[in-house]
Every structure is written in structure tokens, then in C-alpha cells.
Amino acid sequence: MQTDKKFDDLISKAPKPKMSKDFWARFDAELGAKLDGAEVRRISVKSAVFEAFGDFAAVFRDAEFKRALATASAAVMVVGFSIIFAAKGGPGLYSVSSLTSDELVDEIVMLDAYPASENIIDF
């Protein structure tokens, strides 16, 4: 019991370091310098991000770029629509697994009629 009480007393009165005014003056000066460095880094990161965004946005204001972008967009649309409509027109390709047994037999018969090098259906 006495041991427990002694233990509790000593633990509860655990001394805290008491530092001098000189120590805290030095602490504040050093911390101030470190915070200044952190502030500079924070500002430079922020301004680098804004600068990059500004440069990116400036590209879209250029007349030549706008013309080139419009041409490229039109070309993509033309090619895209061509592919869509071309696929709708012809028989196209289909998966062998989608064939019924009778259709599969017909395909095999057709294959037989062609040279091996022209066989394109891979089971």
C-alpha cells in the first residue's frame, strides 16, 4: 500500500522542465526562421500551381490553336461517324459462339471450300 501511494505520489508530481527566458528567446528566433522558410515554400508552391494553370489557359486564347483544335475535332467526328455507319452497312464480323449448330455446319462447309490460308475463323 505504501509502495502504491509512493508510486502514485511521485508519478502525479512528475516534474516538468522549466526553461529560461533565454532558451525561449532562442526557441522563438529559430522557429521564426523555420516558419519563414515554410511560408516561402508554401507561397512558391501556390504560385507555381497558379502559373501552370495560367499558362494552360493562355494556350486556349491563341487564335492559331483554336483553329487547329476546331479542325482536329471535325476530323475526329468525320472518322467516328464513318466507322459507325460503315459497321451498320455490311454483314460485319460475328462471334462463332453466337452461331447455332446448323449455321456452324454451314460455316464449316464454306471453310472447306476455301484454301487454308484464307481461313479466318479461329475456333
Binding site: 512528475a14 522549466k18 526553461m19 532558451f23
Partner: protein, 191 residues
């Protein structure tokens, strides 16, 4: 607390003077915590400064769901742990002689009875040294919880938030820390 809330808002808006005020409010207690982990003045000072720098950069993300000092202590505890891992030091608590401000005049440590009997003073010093060594031998989490409770006087919910665990886990860590210390010290302490 209202004053602190105002300072925090101003610090989040980038006002350096407000953050400096927050530092002044918390630096002494935070230093005591850092010193209890690290064991020497210069390293504790450096670790604490690094923690404040991290807090300064991260204050913009502080949502106010916990108290400011709980959030700050969490950064500090993690900094202390990182420092100790890097140094691979098993620094004891108070390995350096306890710093005493010369302005006190009599050079008596704060927590010691100013007029003890000589034998009692020696016994207290030796006992404290044994306790310090026993604390330094605790596992990391138990040591953190124990010091936040008994040295910083924090409540369990605040300790849980600081070390990043649930309140019940913090209770378990504390229970094990105290049990471990009692076992180690029972034979050494005079009954």
C-alpha cells in the same frame, strides 16, 4: 477558448501573428511532452519546432472537431516517435538533469518540496530515477499514453485522439503501462 478559436481562424487565413500567438500559448506544455519523450533539451527543442512547422503548414486543414492542443500534440507525438526511430535511441525520460530556470533563484526543481529532509530528498531523487528508467522501457504506445496522462494531465478521450486510437484502447495501454511499472518498481521501492 474563444480567443483561441479566433486565433485559429486567423492562422488558417494565413495570418502569421495569429499562429505565433498559438505557439506562445502551447509551447511550454508541448516542450514538456517532447522532453519527456526525447530526454534531452536540444533534440526536444528541434522536434518541437518541426512539429510547429508542420502545424503551421497543416493548420488550414484543421477542422476544429478536436481541441487545437490535441491536434498539435498528435503531430508532436508522431514527430517524437519518428525521431526516436531514426536515432534508434532508447532515451530515458529526463536523462539530462532536469532543466531549471536560473530565475528561480534557489535552483530547486518545481515539483520538489522546497524543504525536504536530506534523506527523503535523496530517496525521492533515486526513486524518480528508477521510475524514469522504467518508463523509458515501456512499449511506445504505452509510454505515450502514460506520459500524456500523468505528465500532461490529459483526459482519456483527448489521449485517444492524440495517439490515434479508441478510448478503450487508450485505457488498456494505460492499464498495462501502470501494471508494468508497478511490477518493475515494487521490488525496488522501499515499503
Amino acid at each position: 477558448m474563444d480567443q483561441e478559436t479566433g486565433l485559429i481562424e486567423r492562422a488558417k487565413n494565413g495570418e502569421r501573428a495569429a499562429f505565433d500567438s498559438l505557439v506562445d500559448m502551447h509551447k511550454e506544455k508541448a516542450f514538456a511532452l517532447a522532453f519527456s519523450f526525447i530526454g534531452n533539451v536540444e533534440d526536444a527543442k528541434d522536434v518541437l519546432q518541426e512539429a510547429f512547422v508542420k502545424a503551421y503548414v497543416g493548420v488550414i486543414n484543421f477542422r476544429g472537431s478536436s481541441k487545437f492542443y490535441t491536434w498539435l500534440y498528435r503531430i508532436l507525438v508522431n514527430q517524437c516517435k519518428d525521431f526516436l526511430r531514426k536515432k534508434k535511441a532508447k532515451s530515458g525520460v529526463f536523462l539530462d538533469p532536469l532543466p531549471i530556470s536560473e530565475e528561480d533563484g534557489d535552483g530547486v526543481p518545481e515539483a520538489v518540496d522546497p524543504a525536504p529532509l536530506p534523506s527523503q530528498a535523496v530517496l525521492d531523487r533515486e526513486t524518480r530515477q528508477m521510475i524514469n528508467e522504467a518508463i523509458s522501457g515501456l512499449p511506445e504506445k504505452q509510454k505515450a499514453v502514460f506520459m500524456l496522462k500523468h505528465i500532461q494531465g490529459m483526459k482519456l478521450n483527448e489521449i485517444a485522439e492524440t495517439v490515434g486510437c479508441s478510448e478503450s484502447t487508450a485505457k488498456v495501454h494505460l492499464f498495462r503501462a501502470v501494471r508494468g511499472l508497478r511490477c518493475k518498481l515494487t521490488k525496488s521501492l522501499t515499503i
